[in-house]
């Protein structure tokens, strides 16, 4: 009957927030200076070694059975075999031969069990960590990390998103943290419009006019509420920082052998751009791949899609290790859910949040850990189930953030950064 089911993050304002003090309500709808940390010193402590995140999102749903949790020769196993990995006794799908050699360098969880089997709600629900409903819109993981770890010293925006299709500034990701923690999306890895300094404006003139602008803003802000000027100055600062790093979008600078190693595919190209963003110091880089919703022809679909990801991610892990970045970079690859063990009438697999797998690696994680398992048919988790809330706690812990202590301050409303009833999965942590 209703196509637009009520989504938890639509419950925008809690009663408490609405009844909050004058000051709290005042800040609720302005930009910038929102949702400060209860303990702002944490971000300072982090700076010593700036931690980063690479978040690979396979939109539509990677089949666990054709990747991390194969069940060959069983009722729902599908046509692919499983192969040995660099960890004795652990097998993954034959579609991932390169990642099989990296198993001792990554961590895997096979007992993920989440709550939502629809895309429209599921994507946001997973990326927001599915916290307990308090009537507020939680930030996506990227916005959360941008807030909690800060932008580092690159001057670049803390949260960027390399994706197929169009780009833009996706402020909705930020939830109650406020627009400045939204993502800057580079559609097809291309720079945003108007990034190049106009040919009629010299470097010197651009610098001078921006100094004049900053001076004018300073005079204006002396006698005004700070929010408008903070927000406006921030976007110009980011624009300037991006203009200084135009090389990030110059693909002619990338050696041909890198393109070959990542695979000359859209995803390979985007992941390589993502690596360069990490090298430039951006805190959180999300790379999207679309087209994983294989309700029909699941096996041909995965035979085409998975090897591309296998090649690119394996190359990426090599590169991060080579550059000394892996120990400080948390790498995550996941979807909004797994796919049904049952094979439908279109030789497809449908949405399955009940039992699926997530790959991660790098910063703060135990290399080679393989946690949780599913039953013999792969239909359900055998043993402890782990929801996205557990994963959020785990990732925060890996980044050195105490998710049981740390809170957001949403205009006076303290909010846990991950689901209160979940906890970090110790077996995954170094």
């Amino acid at each position: 009957m209703h196509q637009s089911l009520c989504k938890p993050w639509e419950h925008r304002l809690s009663r408490r927030q609405l009844l909050g003090t004058a000051g709290a309500a005042a800040g609720a709808l302005t930009v910038g200076g929102l949702g400060g940390l209860v303990q702002p010193t944490v971000a300072d402590a982090m700076k010593r070694k700036h931690k980063q995140v690479l978040f690979i999102w396979l939109d539509g749903g990677l089949s666990q059975l054709e990747s991390w949790d194969p069940k060959p020769n069983t009722q729902f196993g599908g046509p692919f075999r499983s192969i040995a990995t660099s960890i004795p006794g652990v097998q993954i799908s034959e579609l991932m031969p390169r990642m099989a050699t990296k198993m001792h360098q990554i961590a895997l969880i096979r007992s993920v069990c989440t709550q939502d089997n629809s895309h429209s709600a599921g994507v946001a629900r997973i990326q927001r960590g599915d916290p307990k409903n308090r009537g507020v819109t939680y930030p996506y993981f990227g916005s959360a990390v941008a807030k909690l770890l800060g932008p580092g010293d690159s001057g670049l925006p803390p949260y960027v998103w390399v994706k197929p299709g169009s780009g833009g500034f996706i402020h909705q990701d930020a939830g109650f943290l406020g627009a400045k923690y939204g993502s800057l999306a580079f559609g097809d890895g291309k720079p945003p419009e108007n990034l190049l300094r106009h040919k009629a404006v010299s470097q010197r003139d651009d610098e001078e006019r921006n100094e004049l602008r900053a001076a004018a803003n300073k005079r204006f802000a002396e006698k005004r509420r700070p929010e408008a000027n903070d927000a406006n100055s921030y976007v110009y600062d980011v624009a300037q920082a991006l203009m200084r790093r135009q090389d990030l979008f110059d693909e002619s600078k990338v050696p041909a052998k890198d393109w070959d190693r990542y695979g000359r595919t859209e995803f390979g190209r985007h992941l390589l751009i993502g690596r360069r963003m990490l090298e430039a110091g951006i805190t959180f880089v999300k790379v999207n791949s679309y087209g994983w919703d294989t309700h029909g022809d699941n096996f041909n679909g995965h035979r085409s899609l998975v090897p591309k990801v296998d090649q690119a991610v394996a190359a990426l892990i090599d590169d991060l290790i080579d550059r000394g970045l892996y120990a400080s970079t948390l790498v995550i690859m996941m979807s909004e859910f797994g796919r049904t063990p049952r094979i439908n009438g279109h030789v497809g697999r449908d949405h399955w949040p009940e039992a699926w797998s997530v790959m991660m690696g790098g910063c703060g994680l135990k290399a080679g850990a393989v946690v949780g398992k599913t039953n013999a048919l792969g239909t359900f988790v055998a043993g402890d189930e782990h929801d996205i809330g557990h994963l959020f706690h785990t990732w925060f812990a890996a980044l050195g953030i105490d998710s049981k202590q740390e809170e957001y301050d949403n205009n006076g409303q303290p909010l846990p950064i991950a689901h209160d009833d979940c906890h970090a999965i110790k077996e995954l942590l170094a």
Binding site: S14, R15, L19, H171, L195, N210, R225, V235, A239
Partner: protein, 547 residues
């Protein structure tokens, strides 16, 4: 949990909102002081007899122009107003702005953004709105036409149907979002976002019931888009009450006919088969027919009425937001008993006065513009924090893409350039439209994202910095800003012309000397120096908010 204290307000102006518990409605009493004075009395009450200062002339001038004309004043107008010594010059300015041909255009833009939320553009809709504001059509009449969704005699009201037709289209791969339409009717005309009450009573807002949502939905349940040809509406037959149940209690069945939140249910008449239509559907002409019982007509008759409290307070709050930069209730679509207005008396007063004045928005906007509350300065006394909802210091407002486009044009163009609606030849109109489109792309929010608060973006900053359009407007040409300034040798004169043209005020001594110092430093290229100075002000916060 941290205590929620009284937020660092100086004791002098400390506003204890909770103290204002009583909602007194002044009602409409003949011989009562003008509305503006009653509003000021309510707003200034917490200031304990020491109301904070008013805006100076320049601040007021720029604000009134932006709010009522949609563009900053030109340098000549600013000079003239600042020099004017007559005591009633603010009143005269407001009356002039309200009578000007740009006023309906400005209101069309305000209400188009408010009601369509950048879902799409439509020339007939624009024309309908602009003509409505030109004729000063009362708000209730406007809403009645929009909710009726008929094309009127000879298609005169065709443009009004865009509110429905756009929302009943598919967008992208998504199916028609009729729930979204019901939700928007609640949000935009009643100030109630009932989205979360679609499937169950609202979890946090006890006033928002599933029955309210379902009753509202029932009014538009039978309405759909007529397939083929120009977008028009089809209304089928509504013959039975709408059945629903809470997702939390699937076994408890409920039903409702068309019903406004908190109102009486409209009885669905039982009509004999074959007699349901006033004009029967004609399959050959592919017309859908006109039902005798039209829930949409019921909606149009029942919703916009002076005895509908939600209807009154919604428009009162939205007009207040428009002028004061913040609603008395925020968010604008969250009116309910647990989210009280910052000034309940002011909201009640404004709603009642609107109804008493037969929803004449121009009269009410005039009263608001004449109030001291509107004319407060946005500067804050050093070391003090004044919460926004006290309205004791003016709130900065975002400029819409349209306001920005016209204001940048006005500031950079020849004297008097963009103050007029362009009618001086085709070329100018085309370039004007093109410029507007570029600004919309850079500054407008994405569709369905209300433009309520100032929310700058990196995209817009890059546009202001590097777009051909903005750069070209700063090239010296035919008496435009750069041309005029480049020909001035005296730094003081140049500073005055620049600040009046861009910021609609005179420069301070500090600003004049900073400008002189920069000009001295850039003796190598005067034109370039002027461009840099002009750009720095166009990109400044002072320019891109209405303060």
């Amino acid at each position: 949990m941290r205590p929620l204290g009284c937020c660092g307000v100086s004791p002098r102006w400390c506003v204890c909102l909770f103290a204002i518990a009583l909602t007194l409605s002044f009602g409409v009493v003949t011989g009562a002081p003008p509305l503006r004075e009653r509003i000021d009395e309510i707003i200034e009450r917490p200031a304990n007899g020491i109301p904070p200062p008013l805006a100076n002339d320049a601040e007021f001038l720029r604000r009134a122009y932006l709010d009522l004309r949609g563009v900053i004043p030109g340098a000549a107008e600013a000079r003239e107003f600042l020099a004017d010594k007559s005591p009633d010059k603010r009143t005269k300015l407001i009356d002039r702005l309200l009578a000007a041909p740009e006023y309906p255009r400005r209101m069309r833009e305000v209400f188009s953004v408010m009601l369509m939320e950048r879902l799409g553009a439509d020339a007939a809709w624009d024309q309908y709105l602009e003509e409505s504001f030109k004729a000063n059509k009362p708000w209730d009449a406007l809403v009645r036409e929009i909710l009726r969704g008929d094309e009127g005699e000879n298609g005169a009201l065709r443009g009004s149907m865009f509110f429905y037709t756009k929302r009943l289209e598919n967008y992208g791969q998504n199916p028609v979002d009729k729930d979204g339409l019901a939700r928007d009717i609640g949000r935009l005309f009643l100030g109630m976002d009932l989205q979360c009450a679609a499937c169950h009573n609202h979890l946090f807002i006890k006033d928002y019931k599933q029955q309210d949502y379902q009753g509202l939905f029932a009014f538009i349940e039978a309405t759909s888009l007529q397939p083929g040809g120009k977008p028009s509406l089809l209304e089928g037959l509504l013959t039975k009450r709408r059945e629903f149940n809470s997702v939390f209690k699937p076994d408890e069945k409920h039903a409702t006919g068309p019903r406004l939140p908190g109102g009486e249910e409209v009885a669905i008449p039982v009509l004999k088969k074959g007699e349901e239509f006033a004009v029967p559907p004609d399959p050959r002409k592919r017309t859908g027919g006109v039902p005798k019982f039209s829930p949409r007509r019921e909606l149009a008759e029942r919703l916009p009425r002076p005895d509908n409290a939600a209807f009154k307070r919604n428009i009162a709050n939205r007009l207040w937001w428009l002028m004061m930069g913040r609603g008395l209730v925020e968010p604008l679509d969250q009116h309910h008993s647990e989210n009280p207005p910052s000034h309940p008396e002011a909201l009640a007063l404004l709603g009642d006065e609107l109804a008493a004045m037969k929803f004449d928005m121009k009269v009410v906007l005039r009263e608001l513009a004449l109030s001291r509350t509107y004319q407060r300065t946005s500067t804050i006394p050093a070391g003090q924090k004044v919460p926004r909802e006290t309205f004791l210091v003016a709130n900065e407002k975002a400029l819409s893409a349209e306001q920005l486009a016209r204001s940048v044009m006005q500031a950079t163009g020849p004297v008097g350039h963009a103050a007029r609606v362009p009618s001086d030849g085709h070329a100018s109109r085309v370039s004007h439209e093109k410029a507007l489109a570029d600004f919309l792309k850079a500054f407008a929010n994405p569709p369905r994202d209300p433009e309520i608060e100032f929310r700058p973006s990196v995209k817009a900053a890059l546009f202001m910095s590097n777009s051909d359009l903005v750069v070209s407007w700063l090239e010296p040409k035919d008496g435009n800003l750069t041309d005029r300034l480049s020909k001035m040798s005296d730094a003081r004169q140049l500073a005055e012309e620049l600040y009046l043209s861009v910021l609609s005020r005179l420069p301070t001594e500090e600003e004049t000397s900073a400008l002189a110092a920069y000009l001295a430093k850039r003796q190598d290229n005067r034109v370039q120096a002027v461009k840099n100075l002009a750009w720095s002000l166009l990109a400044s916060t002072e320019f891109c908010v209405n303060h």
